[in-house]
């Protein structure tokens, strides 16, 4: 799988390269600033990009902007954004085009190598990977008294949270030690209670959930 990396700290950049190469990724280019990132993305058209939000020259949200710009030029270009902190505002901007293939994770998640590599693969396949912290923010915001979300059972909330992180039914089942059938029973019930249109496609379902939580 071909990947472009953008990270300005050399130590972390080398770490990411090593980590991804050890998992059979081919690193096409590793850049350290916003403009080069945009150029690398549009010329290489990688299978996936792993991008740090904060990059030179401005050291603000240069990476995010470059990623969004690249996705505007190449719709659906899979991008996994890493950040030292997560901001709901940025998650919303990444999800705005609703074409999937986006990830937004805390840098800490890289520590758990297995899960991180899974997330990169998932995004490359057009899926979504949202940081549990973003999802927690979204859920807490939707916890006001009269929201339909409050009618969910604790188990359904758990499933909803995992679904919003971008996990498939199989992954949710494995995580909660229940059968896939049980998971799909929960998801159907969640969709009914939140009045969302049912969908068999995992990815479209995630986007619907995120759009609902973001709305």
């Amino acid at each position: 799988m071909r990947v472009v990396i953008a990270e300005d700290l050399a130590l972390l950049r080398d770490g990411l390269i090593r980590l991804l190469e050890a998992h059979d990724f081919e690193v096409l280019e590793a850049v350290d600033n916003g403009p080069s990132l945009l150029r690398a993305l549009t010329t290489h058209r990688p299978d996936v990009a792993v991008v740090d939000v904060r990059l030179p020259p401005t050291f603000t949200d240069e990476g995010l902007r470059a990623a969004i710009e690249a996705r505007a030029q190449l719709p659906g270009l899979p991008v996994l954004v890493l950040s030292q902190y997560v901001e709901q505002l940025y998650a919303r901007e990444l999800l705005a085009d609703r074409s999937g293939g986006v990830g937004y994770l805390l840098k800490d998640r890289v520590f758990n190598v297995g899960q991180f590599v899974d997330a990169v693969r998932q995004v490359a396949a057009g899926g979504t990977a949202m940081d549990p912290e973003v999802v927690a923010q979204l859920l807490s915001r939707r916890s006001a008294a009269d929201e339909p979300i409050t009618t969910l059972t604790p188990r359904e909330r758990e499933v909803l949270g995992l679904m919003a992180e971008g996990r498939s039914n199989a992954a949710i089942a494995a995580r909660l030690f229940i059968t896939e059938k049980a998971v799909s029973k929960h998801t159907n019930s969640i969709f009914a209670r939140l009045a969302l249109p049912p969908s068999e496609d995992d990815n479209r379902r995630v986007l619907a959930v995120l759009a609902y939580l973001n709305g």
Partner: protein
């Protein structure tokens, strides 16, 4: 015609009211003159103190009415009273420039003013009979005289400004010292402690790698969790010092991010072009953040809006909600905190919150950019 008549009556009434005040000034003047030499035998001190304090309300009455007659507002030149024992407070009053101008006013009003009032009464009666005469000339002269002596001049305004700055600086120093202590404590108990634990886990793991690989693996997993926790704590801390989104997106972006996370819908509108100077931006953000948090906690509102605009060197931020109202700056520590934050930058907080709502907080910060 009727208006003119009412006006003439008004002038006469003011002259009639001003006369006893002027006479009282004469008494105060005599007391003050007597009071100074008597200071030597102590009796003068309370006498002088009492004179100064009675003088102020009388001067304020003249400020109000003279201002109304001339058609411009005459501000109060007094400083806030210093707190402390009697001697400190007396000293404060005596070194205040406005006190001495008040004495000058007493002298003038007790003599020239008295005469003006007597002539003014006569003139007022004549004005009622001879309607073609211009009304209340003496009363006007009296009012201009009062304005000239009682309006804040450069010296008293400067004294007020110095007092205001001293107070806001002291508050700023206190607040920032408390913030630093909090940061130090958070670092010490949080990230720092976790890094120590991390080092220990790693050291142990290194030692046991050969002998007990399973245990070493468990220790490494523990180390990874500890480093995650340390990062999470540092992240929260950084958010409290200077939210990264504020650095990235400026005031409006940061406020939008803040409002997105709120449990009720908050609409954010702005008329802002470009970035503000960093100190103003951060002061404005924290004031707004506190206002929004406060609103969510206390108002019981179901919707709210925030408007930010920058016009003519003034940044104005308004937080509006449809909650229960009844917010009072003198009661809530939250609102006082906001006012304190703003005062360090010469900003102001204005609260209108009738019981039953809606509540509107208006914050301003001077900002030239």
């Amino acid at each position: 015609m009727v208006n003119d008549f009412v006006n003439r009556i008004r002038m006469l009434v003011w002259a009639l009211l001003a006369l006893p005040l002027a006479a009282f000034c004469t008494v105060l003047f005599v007391l003050a003159v007597a009071g100074f030499p008597l200071v030597v035998v102590w009796v003068g001190i309370p006498l002088l103190f009492a004179t100064i304090l009675t003088l102020r309300p009388i001067a304020n009455i003249h400020r109000r009415y003279a201002g109304a007659l001339i058609g411009r507002e005459v501000g109060s030149p007094y400083l806030r009273r210093p707190s402390g024992n009697l001697l400190v407070r007396m000293r404060g009053l005596l070194i205040e420039p406005a006190t001495w101008r008040d004495f000058a006013w007493v002298a003038v009003n007790g003599t020239v003013g008295l005469v003006l009032c007597i002539v003014g009464i006569v003139e007022g009666i004549l004005d009622l009979i001879f309607w073609w005469l211009p009304p209340g000339m003496m009363v006007r002269v009296h009012a201009y005289l009062a304005c000239a002596l009682l309006a804040p001049n450069e010296r008293t305004s400067l004294a007020q400004r110095v007092q205001q700055l001293t107070e806001s600086r002291a508050e700023t120093v206190d607040t920032s010292a408390a913030e630093l202590r909090r940061i130090e404590r958070d670092l010490h108990d949080g990230a720092q402690a976790r890094l120590v634990a991390l080092g220990m886990s790693l050291g142990l793991a290194e030692e046991q790698l050969a002998r007990d690989p399973d245990n070493a693996r468990a220790l490494l997993a523990e180390a990874r969790e500890t480093s995650s926790a340390a990062l999470a704590e540092l992240r929260d801390l950084v958010r409290g010092i200077h939210p990264p989104v504020l650095a990235d997106r400026g005031l409006v972006g940061a406020v939008r991010a803040l409002c997105l996370a709120a449990p009720i819908p908050i609409e954010v509108t702005d008329e802002l072009s470009g970035r503000l100077p960093a100190p103003v931006e951060s002061a404005a953000y924290f004031a707004l953040a506190e206002a929004v948090t406060n609103m969510i906690k206390h108002s019981g509102a179901s919707t709210a809006s925030v408007h930010i605009e920058h016009r003519e060197g003034l940044l104005r931020m308004q937080v509006r909600d449809d909650g229960a109202g009844g917010a009072d700056e003198s009661l809530g520590t939250g609102l006082r905190g906001i006012a304190r934050r703003l005062s360090a930058f010469d900003g102001t907080l204005d609260v209108t919150s009738p019981v039953g709502g809606p509540t509107v907080l208006t914050m301003t910060l001077p900002c030239t950019s």
